[in-house]
């Protein structure tokens, strides 16, 4: 009898340690969100490289825990907490930027450097969201961190949010990556709304061949210039251009392969899973998260507006034959290469032989530089 009672006591005590005893409605909602992300990635093929780690991370982070087990992402010294430091302290984003640099071919931009300006114009999305976030009652630092979602660059958003508003990091990161996956849904209506049929049919001149010397010079000159203007952006800009140099130099193929392959894959896995795990229900399910998601969508729309309208404005000063198809204006956000793909697909809808992909890659990669510069400016003013 005593033995049975003891067993029952033990089982009862053990039950208190289980997730079933500690579950709340918030946990269930978050787990469902995580599962939904995985569903979108697996069945719809929407950004699977990001949504699967983030989705699974959300599930990991929302398993109800008995506090003090030292396994949660916010419990100091736990494995997840140690991995999360890469997000919290901002180590992962520069490493991802190095990989992006090693994967990116800036030829389209070098052959037609005026496309750089579209990458600058699209950064209005960041500051449009910044103004809106201030109006919704966020403080300047928080508004800056939210605004960067409009740069459509996950690593930059994480880097800046970690410095300016660590409490909002989970919501900002998930929002940034979700909207990056939704670029093909958000941008086309805005692009169609702002362009005429005639404009959509504009054929751009074929890009000229770019010499290897120009390609090698680009990361060096690009870094020196941007870093001198915005030193606070050095972690991102430095790694981006460094990654590109090891690719273009032609003598560090092994380094380039590692940066653009295994290294970026490892960091993507770690960043995805820890960002997901950081969205614990008690920290994530708040009104501020809802506002962040609304502002994120708004920032993408503003960025697309600004990019397309800037091209139309720019065309007023360009000669016939040199005009830019406004459909590549949306690619000024740095969601590489999704935004460029959207430009291409919309262009093909109206002219089956007008391939805009290579042209759109110019503003697309300029957007990466532009958003890193904008992040540096926000950091300098608000950190």
């Amino acid at each position: 009898m005593v033995f049975e009672a003891s067993i029952l006591d033990n089982l009862q005590q053990f039950f208190l340690y289980t997730g079933f005893a500690n579950v709340t409605l918030g946990h269930v909602i978050m787990i469902l969100i995580g599962l939904f992300f995985m569903y979108l990635a697996i069945t719809k093929d929407w950004e699977p490289m990001l949504l699967i780690p983030i989705g699974f991370g959300i599930v990991i982070g929302n398993i109800p825990l008995f506090p003090g087990l030292q396994v949660g992402v916010y419990e100091e010294g736990s494995v997840l907490n140690i991995l999360y430091q890469g997000v919290r302290q901002g180590w992962y984003p520069p490493l991802i930027f190095m990989g992006i640099g090693a994967m990116t071919d800036f030829s389209a931009l070098i052959s037609n450097p005026k496309l750089l300006l579209i990458g600058a114009a699209a950064q209005f999305g960041i500051f449009g969201a910044y103004i809106a976030a201030l109006a919704l009652g966020f403080g300047p630092s928080e508004a800056g961190a939210i605004g960067i979602i409009g740069g459509a660059d996950g690593p930059t958003a994480i880097f800046l949010a970690g410095r300016l508003a660590p409490d909002l990091l989970g919501a900002i990161a998930v929002s940034a990556y979700s909207y990056m996956a939704l670029v093909p849904v958000i941008q086309p209506p805005v692009m169609r709304l702002l362009t005429t049929k005639k404009e959509r049919l504009i054929r751009m001149k074929a890009p000229r061949a770019v010499s290897p010397t120009e390609k090698k010079l680009f990361p060096i000159v690009g870094f020196l210039l941007t870093a001198f203007i915005v030193p606070s952006g050095i972690p991102l800009l430095g790694m981006l251009f460094f990654g590109n140099l090891i690719k273009e130099s032609g003598v560090t193929k092994r380094l380039a392969n590692t940066a653009s392959g295994p290294l970026i894959d490892v960091v993507t896995i770690l960043i995805g899973i820890t960002v997901g795990a950081s969205t614990q229900a008690d920290k994530f399910l708040q009104w501020s998260s809802v506002k962040i998601f609304i502002l994120g969508a708004f920032s993408f729309v503003v960025a697309t507006f600004a990019g397309v309208l800037f091209v139309k404005f720019f065309n007023l000063f360009l000669k016939e034959g040199n005009k830019i198809n406004p459909l590549i204006g949306n690619a000024g956000v740095s969601a590489v290469p999704d935004a460029a793909r959207v430009s291409n697909n919309i262009g093909l809808e109206y002219d089956k032989t007008n391939y805009l992909l290579m042209h759109a890659m110019g503003p697309n990669v300029a957007g990466v530089i532009g958003s890193a510069v904008a992040a540096g400016i926000l950091l300098a003013f608000l950190a």
Binding site: I42, L109, I110, S111, P113, K114, L116, L117, G119, A120, A121, Q123, F124, I126, F127, Y130, I131, L134, A135, G139, P140, S141, A143, G144, L164, A206, R208, A209, S211, T213, E214, L217, F218, V221, G222, L225, T226, I229, V230, A366, I369, G370, V373, A374, I377, L378, F381, L382, A383
Partner: protein, 328 residues
């Protein structure tokens, strides 16, 4: 020549390494000195004595173990800061206090001299020769300290020719018994041991921005201007690099044409059209065909068996390395 490059590289690395080392210790500054302490701060033993405060001006941790404190320029190694104490690692922008009670047995931060008759205090590097910082102590009242107005800022540099002449002036000023003596230093009746000499306004940049720019328009305008400026400059530079490249390419093309003795004008646009490529390809193809320069492949496939030693480590069945494919 290769040896020269290697030697230069080695010297460069050594120079950088030595500079990095020097940067660490040289970031330390004497920050505040109190000679006679009867009412102020007590040490861990409950005694009051004079003290010397050091400040780490850098944004990295500096370990001062092995450095020296002295009051005599002719004996720079009066007190050696012991190694092996974790507390000698000074965090970024933080202070450390040394008690000048003359009883070094009380621990790392109790030096073996007193400040009563001291004319100056010197902080010396681990080599026992390089003076990192020194300050001439003026005539101070009881419980009055001599401190930098802002932590780590003000005169006093490492020993150099310029410094030596400046230092004479400083000593003269320090002994002049003025309230403010040397540039950046001040006599104060409110000593601040182990804390900031000047408490800065704690308002964050964000809070200031909220006051200055509540609607975010100023920041938006500034940031967009800077972003555009950066990319416009980049645009101008690469526009010109591109032009230069095209010009050079066309010059090379002209030279090549002149070499062949043909008078046709070279294409100076720097762009080769797809039609040109197609024409060149067709010409090469016809040339090969006419001269029978290209043989026909005999289309014989040779399959050689590749023998591999079996190992479970390389077995796909055992290691299950197949990636599942989504069926739609």
């Amino acid at each position: 020549m290769k040896k020269f490059y290697k030697l230069t590289l080695l010297l460069g690395v050594l120079f950088c390494a030595s500079t990095m080392y020097a940067q660490n210790i040289s970031d330390m500054r004497l920050n505040e000195v109190l000679v006679t302490n009867t009412e102020g701060f007590e040490d861990d033993y409950g005694y009051r004595s004079g003290w010397v405060e050091l400040f780490n001006t850098s944004y990295g941790t500096v370990n001062i173990a092995g450095c020296y404190l002295s009051t005599d320029p002719n004996n720079l190694t009066m007190y050696r800061i012991p190694k092996g104490d974790v507390l000698t690692s000074i965090p970024p922008r933080q202070h450390i206090l040394f008690w000048a009670d003359g009883v070094k047995e009380r621990g790392t931060f109790h030096v073996n001299f007193k400040l009563d008759d001291a004319k100056e205090v010197l902080f010396v590097s681990t080599d026992g020769k390089t003076i990192v910082d020194r300050v001439a102590i003026p005539q101070l009242d009881t419980n009055q300290s001599y401190a930098r107005k802002v932590d780590g800022e003000g005169s006093v540099k490492q020993e150099s020719i310029i410094y030596k002449s400046l230092y004479k002036n400083m000593v003269a000023k320090a002994n002049a018994n003025d309230t403010e003596t040397v540039e950046g230093w001040i006599k104060t009746n409110v000593p601040t041991p182990s804390t900031n000499n000047l408490t800065l306004d704690g308002e964050s940049k964000g809070a200031l921005m909220k006051e200055v720019d509540p609607y975010g328009l100023f920041l938006t305008f500034t940031a967009m201007f800077v972003t555009f400026l950066s990319l416009i400059i980049l645009y101008v530079i690469f526009k010109n690099i591109g032009k230069f490249h095209i010009k050079k390419k066309s010059e090379n093309a002209v030279k090549a044409m002149e070499g062949t003795g043909k008078s046709d004008k070279a294409d100076t646009s720097g762009q080769v059209s797809a039609e040109t490529y197609a024409a060149i390809s067709m010409a090469i193809h016809l040339f090969m065909q006419d001269n029978e320069a290209h043989d026909f492949e005999d289309t014989v496939l040779t399959i050689n068996k590749v023998s591999r030693t079996y190992s479970p480590w390389s077995s796909k069945i055992y290691t299950l390395r197949e990636t599942p494919q989504l069926k739609k």
